[in-house]
Symmetry: C2
Subunit: 115 residues, 2 copies
Amino acid sequence: MTVKPRLRVLAGADIALGPGKVALLDAIEEHGTLVGAAQVLEMSYMRAWKLVQTMNVCFREPLVETSRGGTARGKAALTPTGRAVRDLYRAMEGACLQAVRPLWDEMRAYLDGEP
Amino acid sequence: MTVKPRLRVLAGADIALGPGKVALLDAIEEHGTLVGAAQVLEMSYMRAWKLVQTMNVCFREPLVETSRGGTARGKAALTPTGRAVRDLYRAMEGACLQAVRPLWDEMRAYLDGEP
């Protein structure tokens, strides 16, 4: 039994940031290419590219910079803004989890399979 | 620009509770039937019925009781456990929102369109 905070940052009709986009930021940092990040997350390159475009337009500065205009061979990296925003998102998840803990303990008592 | 906490309660492979299921609990309370609740949420009766079954098996006691074996004409109502769990979920959302506020203020500064 676990509780997962899935925070969604809305900018008008767009989802500027959510669990999937933040996982993509982590994967880009780890793999250094958009095609590698997409593969490890089992999404198409086109989908990863679209998620990056959405993030990049929702924030004042891009979160991800791609070389060679975003082609599959090009490198991708988080910008300083990208790292700052990703870190803030993870901190928000942590703050949320900590804040819900007492209520979560109450809810667990209602769940089946808890001692 | 807003941030929405979408808390997901996992019980093994099942999602015992999440934003959609809690919206269904609210709609059942408001409408008194599963078919009415499904309509207002623009989901099929079958989908609403399945969501209720998942919730009911994940918790020690059912969250929703249906008369007439869950047929479309039957009434549906939250049990005391259903109300308690729904209220705890909403309280968790509120606690999460409050906890993330300072970090959210930091993140807003990175978003486009903020003054």
